[in-house]
């Protein structure tokens, strides 16, 4: 999407009539995310968390060099599918976002879009040192240093690069967190929405999308 596509303009309708459109209001929902309440019945919530932890659907979005570590996991050598982990092609179908390595500002914009399009409850695994403190790109002009300033992170996996085994261990850790009811990333994002948005807008200078991408 380019900035000019979001500007108000007059277009011709299929009948040939000129109509004014305001894409940011006409095409996108402007509502902000809300905190989802937990189930009032504790045992039901526990069951739901158990079920969630048993089917982690990962968004197939490789952001950095760590994306290469996900290929062995999908294939028979490490075979993450036996743990109930599978990769999905669209954000709408997935609930785990693996940020695989460094993030440039340009990619971060796409990451935010995809993350917001995912349906809650959603979890983020940050893979590699770059997501923690910038790693070897800590002084680069174009890569972010701390991922948790832009989206909430559930599990960090340190290393440059971590092996696929480490990623599998990270998935197991995430399952533990979800079963304990601590996988509250989406709610954290909704609660501190303004802070996250301010951080995002500080570094993404040409903001050309709605504040929340439903």
């Amino acid at each position: 999407m380019g900035k000019e596509e979001l500007e108000k303009r007059i277009v011709l309708s299929p009948d040939g009539e000129p109509i004014e459109i305001d894409p940011i209001n006409d095409y996108f929902c402007q509502d902000l995310p809300e905190v989802e309440k937990k189930s009032s019945i504790a045992i039901l919530e526990k069951f739901q968390n158990w079920a969630r932890s048993r089917s982690l659907w990962v968004l197939g979005f490789g952001t950095g060099c760590g994306a290469i570590e996900m290929r062995p996991l999908m294939t028979p050598k490490f075979d993450a599918y036996r743990y109930g982990i599978q990769w999905r092609p669209t954000p709408r179908q997935s609930d785990v976002f693996v940020i695989s390595g460094y993030l440039s500002v340009k990619t971060l914009k796409r990451v935010i879009r995809s993350y917001e399009q995912m349906q809650g409850p959603k979890y983020v695994i940050a893979l590699g040192s770059c997501t923690i403190n910038g790693g070897m790109y800590w002084d680069s002009y174009n890569t972010i240093n701390r991922l948790d300033h832009y989206i909430p992170v559930d599990v960090y996996i340190a290393g440059c690069m971590p092996r696929p085994e480490a990623l599998l261990a990270g998935f197991e850790q995430l399952k533990k967190i979800i079963r304990e009811g601590r996988g509250e990333g989406a709610n954290l994002y909704a609660e501190n929405f303004e802070w996250y948005k301010a951080n995002q807008k500080k570094i993404i200078k040409d903001w050309d999308m709605p504040d929340y991408n439903w």
Binding site: G134, W138, Y141, T143, N145, R146, N199, I203, D206
Partner: protein, 175 residues
């Protein structure tokens, strides 16, 4: 390649000439004759392949060096055409009429070094930095560490060691 260089010297002013290997020569020409020289190499001498177009920032001399690396697939040798241009308000003639792909290189140079190529298609469009307002980042007076520290929320507690002294202390603590 010697004959070729002698032939070129008769019709063009070659400011500097270095034969690095038997199949690689560096030729420095002036900014005014550069595009003419390059198109002669392409059309007459068979240097049909533009390998890369890149720049070097000689900040001490106040110059940018443009590097046009050309390849002759039949003779299997390369010519590196070096052009020095002023660093202030750096502009250069576009060569997208010779090689269509040069427009991508020129777009990159515009964004990363701030070298303008008037007339090159799409040269002002952002290449990889979206919405960049600072100094072009590949210029040597751009302090990338300072920019990163001011912009990207550095995590406190990051330690940095000089690898040589650190490993010496680790391996030979008594010395």
């Amino acid at each position: 390649m010697k004959e070729l260089i002698d032939r070129l010297k008769t019709s063009y002013t070659v400011e500097d000439y270095i034969q690095q290997r038997s199949d690689l020569a560096h030729i420095t020409v002036s900014k005014e004759t550069a595009v003419d020289f390059i198109s002669h190499l392409q059309r007459v001498e068979g240097y049909k392949h533009l390998v890369i177009l890149t720049a070097v920032d000689w900040i001490e001399d106040g110059k940018f060096q443009l590097t046009y690396l050309l390849n002759n697939p039949e003779m299997k040798n390369d010519i590196n055409v070096k052009v020095f241009i002023e660093r202030e308000n750096a502009t250069m003639e576009s060569i997208h009429h010779l090689w269509e792909q040069a427009r991508t290189y020129q777009r990159e140079l515009k964004e990363m070094f701030g070298i303008d190529f008037p007339g090159s298609p799409g040269v002002d469009k952002p290449f990889i930095l979206e919405g960049w307002h600072d100094l072009p980042p590949y210029r040597r007076d751009f302090d990338t560490k300072k920019y990163s520290e001011e912009t990207y929320f550095p995590r406190p507690g990051r330690e940095k060691n000089d690898p040589a002294t650190y490993m010496k202390q680790k391996l030979y603590p008594n010395e």
